[in-house]
Structures are given as C-alpha cells and as structure tokens.
C-alpha cells in the first residue's frame, strides 16, 4: 500500500482503537480524561488527513495516486463468473476534501463536547455516561471516515449502516428520557425505510452490473448502455408491472437514492431530523448537520454515474420540495435547535437539488461550506443552551450579546454565510454566496438556457440520432461535461478540450434525454433564497440582540473557553472554505466522477469568453446565468435580513401582531404543525397498520378460533352421548383392562435388561455389535 493509503487507513483505525479503549476501560479512565482520549484519536485522523491533503494538493500525477491496491475480502462465485468483493481505499479529490473536512469539524466538536458534556452527562444506573458518549463519538468517527474511503458500494453500505447505528445510539443518549428514546427509534426506523430502497438498488447493481466497485460499475454501466446489453436489455415483470431497459436503470438509480433520502432526510422521510435534536447538541452539530446527513449527498455524488436522466429529475424534484417546505417551517420555529435543524434540512434540499440538476461540484461545494458554518452555528446554539441552563426557547432569550460575545459574533458569521451575504458581481462573499449561487446558476441554465446552449446547430447530429432536435445538444453536452473546470484535459485521458467528444455516438444519444427542468423548479429555490436570510436573522436577533426577556436565564448566561475556542476555529474554516479553497479540487474530481453516458454535468462556473466561443455559446450578457442571478437573487440577503431586523427590532410584539392577521394565522398554524406530516404518518401509517392488525386478529379470533371451539364443544357433546350410552358400558372396559394387563406384562418383560447401569448398556451394545458382525461374516462366508 502507498503511504497515502496507509495514512487514510490509520486515520480510520485510530478512532476505532480509541472506541475499544473507551468501551473496555473507559469507566476507569474517568470524566475529563476519556474525552481527551477520544480527542487524541480524532487528532491522529486530522494529522493523517492533513498529510494526505498536502500531498494531494502538491501532487503532479494524480492519476497515479488514484490507482490504489485492494484486497479481496471475499470472492463470490456468481453466475459462473467470479465476483470479488474488494476492500480498497478510494483516493480522489472528493475523498480527500471530505476526509479533511470531516476530521477538522469533528476535532472541533470533540473538544467542544468535553466542555459541553461535563454538565450534561448525568449518572444513569450508577455509571457516568461521559465516557460512553465519547465512545459512541469515536465509533461514529470511524464509521464516517470508513464510509469516505471505501471504494465499493458494498463496504459503503456497511459503513452506512454503522453511521446509522451511531446516530441511533447518540440520539437516544439520554435513553432515560422518553422523548429521546422515541426520537432515536423514529430516526432508526425512518432510516430503515430508506435503506430498504438502498438495498433494492444494491441488488439491482449486484445482479446486472455484477460488481460493487464504483469505477467498474460505472464502466460496466456505460458499456452496457453502448451495447444496449445487461440492464438495458433486461426485461422483467415486477408484480405484473412490466419494466425494461432504461426504466429499470432508472429504478436502480432511484433505489440507490432512497438511501440518501433516508440518511439526509429528504422530503417524504424528513420527519426524523427535527426530532433527532433530542440528542446532545454536539451530536446535532456533528452528525445531524455536518457529516452524517451529508453522507446522503456524498452517496449520490458517488453513484452519480449510475443515474439516468429520469432518476436525476426525480432527485431534483425531491430536493426542490424538501428545501421549500422545510424552509417555510423554519420560519415559525421558536426552539433555537429546531430552527437550525429545519435550515439544515433546507440546505440539504439545496444540495440534493443541485445533484439532481447535475451541478455535481456545486452541490458538494455547498456541502462543505455548509458543514463548516452549520456545525459552528450548532455549537453556538449548544453554547447558548449550556449558558442558559438547558433553555432552548428563543422567546426566553435575547440580549445575550453582552454575556457571550464570541458565540454571538461567530453565530453572526454563520448567519451571514448561510444567507449568502456578498457583494454581487464581485468575488466577495461568504460560503453560501458562492455555493448556492452556483447551484442556482445551474438550475437557471437547465431551466432557460438549455435549448439556447444546445439548440444552435441542429443539423450536425441529425444523421446520428433519429430526431434532429436531440442530436446536436449531444455534442455540446459532451463538451459541457469536459469544459467544467479548466484542468481536466491533463487529468483525464480522453478529455480533449472542448470538442473532445464531438463524434461520440454514445454522448450523442444522451443529452437528448436530459430534461429541460420546469420553471417552478428554478423559481422555488429563488424564493427560498429570500426566505433563508429571514429566518436565520430572526433566530440570531431573537437570541442575541434586543433586551433580555427572561431575567434569570439572562443572569446565569456565561461561556467557557473550552467551548468557544472551537467556534473560532470553525469560523476561520468558514471563511477559508468560502474562498474557493475546495472548489478547484471538486471541479477536478467532477471530471472523474461524472464520466458517465447518461449524465450531463453542468459546472456552476459559467465558461469565460474563450470557452463561450469554444462552446459556440451565445455571447449576449443576459444568457450568462450569473449576470441574470445578480438581478434575480443577488440582493436577497439584504431583503431577508432587513425584513427580519424590521420585525424583531424591538421585541416580539410586532411579530405577535403580524401573527394575528387572519390569513397569516392559518399559515402559521399549518407551519407550527409542520405541515401535518407527523399527523399524517401517525394516522395513515401507524394507525393504519394498527387498524389492519386489529381487524385481522379480531376476524381470526371470532371466526376461526371461536368457531373451532364451538364445533369441538358440540361434537364432544354428541360423541359423549353416543359413547356414554353405547360404547362405554360395552367393550370399552374390557378393552381397557386388557390393554392395561398387557402393558404391565410387557413392561415387566422389558424392564429386565434396563438395569440403569451404563456398563451393562455398553455390554449389551457390544453384544449387539458382535451379533451383527457375526451375521455379516456369515453372509460373506456363505
């Protein structure tokens, strides 16, 4: 193994080792020390991550680095051909970036937790839960990093389940409280629903592509598409529903996406994430904001090459719905952690939406920036909650600016970042300003410029594909893939500049299938981009600014250095990650991760003038999505933040008056009820199941069991009359006596050899063997 692989593996194993230490001797190590043990483990991982990151950034021949060695974990003999499930380290730009981000964020959060859990880990059944918390955290760290470095979907699934387990354990950390254990179970079960789809997708991959390795799977997929074999030639019936070819591939993609839907809480399955806030706040920061929920996006990014256009469209729709409804719900939340949870959901929706519209690097870029500032904001909220002694209601807070300045200002940085504060037109801004802008830009491309970018030369591709409309885009689509990011030409072999795929019949057939997304899927995120700054600013203002609304809460508030130091680090991380530190690497990784036949990846960076000419794009300014976006959404943050300040400038009464307005009241009620998702699920799913079971059991009870009982009863009466009058007085007695006598006699006879002495039994057995042997010999001799 190369040194980088060893470093990655070491970084993965170190938290596992610390987990073992804490699990076995944690209770001996004691309260603060066990936390530092876990921090040591994650620091080792951070060191390895930094080593790999520097090596990667300074590497010239990255293709050589990507070629890693693997070990056959098990070799399945499948359909006559051997299929090895290989354990192999995935080493590419995405892995390195994510690895570094995860280790950095989790280091900060581990350190924060030591200060936080000191007050929150109360005794349960006689033993302190402090070391148990860090034990779980280390296990989670191990599983998350393993998820990042595993290059086969199989091991990805294994670690996937492991992070699910850790999230279950940590949400239910206060398992002695009912709501916590309920939330844990809810999260676990909801994830199972998603993972069921994931398993189905996995089975499809297993059956049709016959490999679990990501790259091989993608290559096989492309090859099968070219030759129209394998899954594209498949033709099966599912419950009488006839599925074949492209639809089956779409199903496979959607199935794989279902896992992401569960983990990163997308629209139908988003209900578990707000409840997951029952866990300790560092857990919310690490697992439910920064890393694990982002694992869904990471999964989509990994299996991106197996997605058909339909599957991509499905993903985009799901993301769009999620980001809309959750952002709306976030407006009315009063629990500070709930606000952050719903904003997390909304941002995840942005990422998934970006993935769906094909903005691969943009979505991941948003993932990384979001990880930093959202983890920072959660830690800030944890700081606030700790300072206010477990008060989470923002209406009781306010005016904490004086008490906890560092928290206040770092939180403000986070707000600015998520609101996308920046000076439009200039490259000056904070995280969300760049990443969200890229996602929206791609959405704009897909919604408006799609034909204009590809519609130009319909004549060229006409003879290749059937209809003239779809062929020409194919060429450009091929170009657009490889035009994304400047440096793919050297890093990828067959990626020529621009027209590298001019005559690629495969790509010719593809972009034809790419949907031009409907306009509402562009406009909804725009609206939400206006809403986001509002509720984040509302949250910040209600918490920190204004006059203290609850004196004794305000009186106790304080902050401890062990807990605000990580905030500083994360704030720095936010600033750095905003300014294009990760961006080029992701853009380059996109080159490798999106080499798929059925994918058109549009890089958020719109090409410069030269590329315009190269791509033959129209030069007029209004077709430049960024220019367009400046007009549309550039100043959304001003509007949103301004509105928030306007409303909450002095106290809550203005907001209260607005809430009383007739129509607003209705909406507010709906939003307070989280758009009735929980009610619907409870009544329809849970209640329905209960009802069905009740009906079934009642029917069984009434008709079968009672019926049998009655039947037996009646027949017994009949038989009794019959036998009592006729049989019994007749032969029965004599028969019984005879049987009794004979049984006794036989028993007497049989009892003789039953001496109960084991030696005699051995003797009898041997004698029997002798007889049998004698018989055999006699037979043989005769």
């Amino acid at each position: 193994m190369g040194n980088y692989e060893i470093a990655l593996c070491l970084g993965v194993v170190a938290p596992l080792f610390m987990f073992a230490v804490l699990a076995f001797v944690g209770h001996r190590i004691g309260k603060p020390t066990s936390g530092w043990v876990a921090v040591l483990g994650v620091l080792i991982s951070l060191g390895c991550a930094t080593y790999v990151l520097t090596g990667w950034l300074s590497a010239t021949d990255k293709a050589a680095l990507m070629a890693t060695t693997g070990y056959d974990w098990v070799v399945l003999n499948l359909f006559g051909n051997e299929m090895p499930i290989e354990f192999k380290v995935k080493l590419d730009g995405l892995t390195v970036m994510m690895y570094f981000m995860v280790t950095l964020v989790s280091t900060c959060i581990f350190v924060f937790s030591i200060g936080y859990m000191a007050g929150h880990s109360d005794e349960v059944d006689g033993q302190c839960k402090f070391h148990r918390f860090f034990c779980y955290l280390s296990l989670f760290e191990f599983s998350m990093l393993g998820l990042l470095i595993s290059s086969s979907i199989f091991f990805l699934f294994v670690f996937w389940e492991l992070v699910g387990l850790c999230s279950y354990l940590l949400i239910g950390f206060y398992f002695d409280k009912k709501f916590a254990s309920n939330a844990a179970m809810k999260a676990f079960i909801t994830n199972r629903v998603g993972d069921f789809g994931f398993l189905l997708g996995l089975m499809l991959v297993f059956v049709f592509l016959q490999t679990f390795d990501l790259d091989q799977a993608a290559a096989t997929f492309r090859n099968q598409y070219e030759t129209q074999s394998g899954i594209f030639a498949a033709d099966i019936d599912i419950l009488g529903w006839h599925v074949s070819g492209m639809d089956l591939a779409t199903l496979m993609g959607i199935g794989l996406f279902c896992g992401a839907m569960g983990k990163s809480a997308q629209f139908p399955l988003h209900v578990w994430l707000p409840d997951a806030m029952a866990g300790p706040t560092p857990v919310s920061a690490l697992i439910h904001a920064a890393t694990m929920v982002a694992a869904g996006v990471y999964l989509v990014a990994r299996v991106f090459r197996l997605l058909t256009p339909d599957a991509q469209f499905f993903i985009a729709v799901i993301g769009c719905i999620t980001l809309t409804i959750t952002a709306l719900i976030a407006i009315v939340q009063i629990d500070i952690k709930k606000v952050l949870a719903y904003s997390t959901l909304s941002q995840l929706g942005y990422m998934i939406f970006g993935m769906g519209v094909g903005a691969w690097p943009a979505a991941l870029f948003h993932l990384i920036t979001h990880a930093f500032f959202k983890a920072m904001m959660f830690l800030g909220s944890g700081q606030v909650i700790e300072g206010c002694h477990h008060v989470q209601d923002m209406r009781k807070m306010g005016g904490l600016r004086k008490k906890m300045p560092v928290t206040c200002w770092t939180f403000l940085i986070g707000v600015a970042a998520i609101a996308g504060v920046g000076i439009p037109g200039a490259h000056i801004g904070l995280g969300g300003y760049f990443s969200k802008d890229e996602v929206l830009a791609v959405a704009y491309e897909r919604a408006y410029n799609w034909e204009d970018r590809f519609g130009g030369h319909a004549a060229e591709g006409g003879h290749r594909e059937g209809d003239a409309h779809s062929a020409a885009p194919a060429l450009r689509s091929g170009q657009v893939i490889f035009a994304s990011g400047g440096e793919h030409a050297d890093s990828h072999a067959d990626a020529g500049h621009g027209g590298g795929h001019h005559d690629d019949p495969v790509l010719a057939g593809i972009a034809a299938k790419q949907h031009k997304i409907p306009k509402w899927m562009f406009w909804l995120p725009i609206i939400i981009a206006y809403v986001t700054p509002f509720y984040m600013m509302r949250c910040w203002w209600m918490t920190f600014m204004g006059k203290p609304r609850d004196e004794e809460v305000h009186h106790h508030a304080h902050e401890s250095p062990l807990m605000w130091a990580p905030l500083i680090v994360l704030a720095a991380g936010t600033l750095i990650s905003s300014f294009y530190m990760f961006r080029p690497e992701l853009g380059e990784a996109a080159a490798h991760a999106t080499q798929a036949p059925l994918v058109v990846s549009v890089d958020g960076e719109v090409p410069n003038k030269a590329q315009h000419e190269l791509l033959g794009l129209s030069h007029d300014k209004d077709k430049d999505p960024h220019a367009a976006l400046i007009g549309i959404v550039g100043f959304a943050w001003v509007a949103g933040i301004g509105l928030a300040i306007l409303i909450y400038r002095n106290g809550l009464d203005l907001a209260e008056r607005i809430r009383r307005l007739p129509l607003i009241r209705f909406f507010h009620w709906c939003l307070m009820e989280k758009l009735f998702f929980d009610h619907i699920y409870d009544t329809v799913l849970v209640g329905g199941t209960k009802w069905v079971l009740a009906q079934v059991s009642r029917a069984v009870d009434t008709y079968i069991i009672d019926g049998i009982a009655n039947l037996l009863g009646r027949s017994t009466v009949r038989i009794a009359e019959f036998s009592g009058n006729i049989m019994d007085t007749g032969g029965v007695d004599g028969l019984v006596d005879a049987i009794g006598e004979s049984t006794q006699g036989v028993g007497e006879m049989v009892r003789q050899p039953q001496t109960g002495k084991i030696r005699n039994y051995i003797m009898f057995g041997t004698a029997g063997a002798v007889l049998v042997l004698a018989a055999m010999i006699a037979v043989v001799l005769s």
Binding site: M1, N3, I6, C9, Y71
Partner: protein, 507 residues
C-alpha cells in the same frame, strides 16, 4: 543405625551387594582422586570441558560429512542402510589412498563404523545427554551464587576452589549416595516412576533443539510443537509424584501444578504463533536462520505486537517451568516443598534436573523464536568465506555460533533467577486470574494485531521505521542495564556493603 519407632513398617537397611559396592567404591575413589586436581585448575577445567565437548561434536560432524563425500564418490553409490554394509573397509582405504591421506591405514578402521546410523545416533545422543547434564549442574551452581549476591552474601565458596564451582558435582555424589526413601503409605510403583516421567520429557526436548543452524540432532519440521509438548508432558511426572506421595501438601502442590500448567499453556502457545506467522514455518532451524540479518531483523522487533508477544511469552514460560513468582507447586513456605516433599536422594535430584533443563528449554525457545537465535547483532552477510579453520572460528565468534545461543539462554536464565530472588510469590487465584483475564486477552490482541499488520503494511516504509525504533529502544535498554552492571562490578564490594547498610532497618 538406630531404629526409630515409626507407624509404618520400616524397610531394613541394605548392605552393599554386587555391583553397588563397586560403584560406591568407584565414586569414592574418583572424587578423592579428582578433588585435588580440580581444585588446582578450576577455571581451566570449566572452560575446557565446554570447549572440548563442542569441539568433539564439531569434529564428528566434519568426519560425517567427509564420510558422506566418500559415499558420494563411491561408484556403487547405493543408499547407506543402518547396518552399514554399503562401504567396506577396503573401499574407504582405497579412497583414502587415492587422496593420499596420511595414516589412512588406521583411519579407515576408525571411519568404517561411522557410517552406521545407529553409531552416529549414539554419538549424537551422548553429546546431547552431556549437554543436558552439564546445563543443570552449572545452572544450579549459578543460581546459588546469584541468590547469594542478591542477598549480599557469597554463596558456595569451598568446593572446587574457585567460587565453589564444583558444588553441584559434590551434591550430585551426595544425592546418589543418599538412601532412597519410599513412604510406606505411598503408592510405590507410581512413586518410583514419577521422577522419570518428569525427567525424560525434558531430555527429549533437547533432541530437536537446534543450538546452531548445523548444530541440531534431529531437524524436525514440527520441532517447535514437539518441544512445547515435551515441556507440557513434564507436568505429568510432577502430578503423579504429588499424588503418589500420599501427602496432603504434595497433593496440593500437584493440583496447583495441574491448573497452572494447563491454563498457562494457552497464552504461551498463542503468542508462539506470532513468530511462526512471521517466519512461515515450524522448523526451528529455518526460524532461526530467518533472523540472521542483524539485531533489527530479530522477530521481537518486527512490530509492536511481536514485542508484546515476546514479553507475554516470557512471563508465561516462567509459569510453565514453575519458576517464581509462579512456583506455587513447590512453595517451600506454604507446602513444605510441595510435590517433592517425600522425595530424597537421586529421585529428588531428577526433579531438579528436569526443572533446570526446562528453564533452559523455555529460554532457548525465547531466544530462537524472538531474539535472533544463534546470531550476533551483526548481520551475517558480513561473514567471511569459511576457507580456513581460523575464519570458521572468527565467524563463530563474530556472527553465529552455539556459544552465542547458550550465552543468550543463560542471560534469560539469569533473569529468571533474578526474578525469583526479587519478587514475592503470588496467590493461586492471582495466578489463574492473571492467566485468564490478563495474559490470554493480551495474547489474542498480539496475535490478531500481528496478522493484520502482516496483511496491511508488512514491508512498507512505515513498518521498517517501527522495526528500527523498537530495535533501538531494546538496544538502549540493554546498554543501560550492562552499564549499571558494569558499575556494580567495578565497585562491587563497596556497593554490597553500602546496600547492606542501606537495607538495615532504622538506617
């Protein structure tokens, strides 16, 4: 001889009859004749005994190989059968004449019997047996000296002149001459056979034991398991002895020995799998030769897990040859010498032969498997071409030779003595606890960790780095120990007095 009134029937004292009388007279004569001589040249005799025995074995080997060349040069080169008819005296003589060897006429009669395998085996057995007898004799004497030093006294000083080096021989003569007591209530047959059951296996363990890559009597492919089995079988004799003595203390000692041995063989064998995995064979010669590349290629420094395995093995081996702090079966203070309470005379000494031989065997295993068997810290690749006897000798002194093996073994035996005279004995429940709950988990961790290490990063830059680091740590520790010892030796007498005063209460 006065008759004591004892509850059981007393065996009448025997007069010397037949050969016994002759043997006694012979022993008396030999000692009276040898004593003045050995007391004159003690050091000379001590060293020359070892040197000559080794040289004898070496010469035999040279002769055998020479004879093999003769047989190979023979025209009708059929395989030599044990009865040795294949080479006649005439053929040997002809060969010698053709090579114009001087004194071939006499030499052929000397060479002829050497082609009989039985003869060769007898010679080899004699060498092994002499080694087997010399080692306990000197180990016992050395233990008494070490104990004396540790307790700020001199130890045996009289017999043999120089530091009482012949003490053990004198004890041997005394023990042979002592009366052979068999308690009347004891199970006579078992009581008599038990010492042999303890003695013979520890002798057999020497048969497959390589002292050097050429210096092995039987080069067996399963030598390692064979030796472990022999060390384990030795316990049968101890248990039978304790049982047959029909003595409460002896039975306690025997039962303790049984639990202790059976439970400590598990971690010991488990950690022994680690060097086996490293070398990929059970043949001890190959395991030893695999570590010829200098001290940092020794198995103990292969990775942290092998080092843990080495430590674990050494502790388990202490328990396995019932040395302190695990010497519960024969604890003098609690069980009045435990399983050999009732023994006396020669049978008693057999137990001690067995025990000290077992000490040598387990130390030899530690050396062979972990600490680069018969190799010096210098890599053997620097060795000279063995053209002359002088260069052979130089290689032996500088690079690899049985002397180094025995030297290392005695270092470990010294550590055993050191521990015995330093640490207190631990309780039986502590013994079993430390086996089952401490050493066995550690052994499993070492095994699994080593396996993972071998799979993942064997041969990588990282593992080489680790190997160097461990080797340097070990070298530093060794050097520090040697320097302390040297200081102690330089002003030893003052130091002893100083320590003695320092240890006095109220000082």
């Amino acid at each position: 001889m006065t008759q004591f009134s004892v509850p059981w029937k007393q065996s009448p004292p025997l007069e010397h009859r037949g050969p016994a009388r002759g043997v006694v007279a012979l022993a008396r004569f030999v000692y009276s004749a040898a004593a003045p001589i050995v007391s004159r040249f003690p050091g000379l005799i001590l060293t020359s005994a070892i040197v000559f025995s080794t040289l004898a074995v070496w010469i035999h080997w040279e002769l055998f190989s020479y004879l093999e060349t003769i047989a190979a040069s023979d025209l009708n080169g059929t395989a030599k059968s044990i009865w040795g008819q294949s080479l006649t005296v005439g053929e040997i003589g002809a060969y010698l004449q053709s090579n114009s060897v001087a004194a071939g006429g006499v030499l052929k009669y000397l060479l002829w019997p050497l082609q009989m395998e039985l003869f060769r085996d007898i010679v080899g057995l004699a060498a092994i047996f002499q080694l087997f007898n010399l080692i306990p004799v000197y180990a016992i004497w050395w233990e008494r000296k070490v104990a004396g030093r540790i307790q700020s006294r001199m130890g045996p000083m009289r017999v043999g002149g120089w530091h009482g080096w012949a003490q053990s021989f004198a004890d041997g003569v005394k023990l042979v001459a002592k009366e052979d007591l068999v308690p009347a209530q004891a199970d006579g047959m078992l009581f008599k056979i038990a010492p042999y059951l303890a003695f013979v296996p520890s002798l057999l363990a020497f048969l497959c034991f390589p002292l050097g890559s050429y210096w092995v009597f039987r080069n067996v492919d399963v030598a390692l398991i064979f030796i472990i089995a022999m060390v384990g079988i030795e316990v049968v004799g101890v248990i039978v002895a304790g049982w047959a003595s029909n003595n409460k203390w002896s039975v306690y000692g025997a039962m303790r020995e049984a639990c202790q041995m059976v439970s400590y063989e598990i971690p010991m064998t488990t950690v022994l799998l680690v060097p086996i995995m490293t070398a990929g064979t059970l043949n001890m010669v190959q395991i030893g030769d695999a570590q010829s590349g200098g001290w940092f290629t020794w198995n103990a420094f292969h990775n942290p897990f092998t080092f843990i395995a080495f430590i674990t093995y050494y502790i388990a081996s202490l328990a396995n040859c019932k040395r302190a702090p695990f010497d519960l079966p024969e604890s003098e203070s609690e069980l009045v010498a435990g399983f050999h309470t009732e023994y006396s005379g020669f049978r008693w000494s057999l137990f001690f032969f067995a025990e000290y031989a077992a000490m040598f065997v387990v130390s030899g295993l530690a050396v062979t498997l972990f600490l680069g068997a018969w190799h010096t810290p210098l890599p053997s690749t620097w060795a000279f071409e063995e053209t002359s006897l002088f260069k052979i000798l130089l290689n032996g002194i500088l690079f690899s030779s049985p002397f180094w093996f025995i030297f290392k073994c005695f270092i470990f035996i010294y550590i055993q003595l050191w521990i015995r005279w330093t640490l207190p004995r631990i309780r039986i429940d502590q013994v079993l606890y430390s086996c089952v709950q401490v050493m066995f988990p550690i052994a499993c961790v070492a095994l699994v960790g080593h396996a993972v290490w071998m799979v993942l990063l064997d041969g990588s830059m990282f593992s080489t780095l680790i190997r160097w680091v461990l080797g340097l740590i070990f070298a530093a520790v060794t050097f520090g120990f040697l320097s302390v010892a040297a200081f102690g030796y330089r002003n030893g007498r003052r130091m002893v007095g100083y320590l003695a005063v320092k240890q006095l209460p109220g000082s």
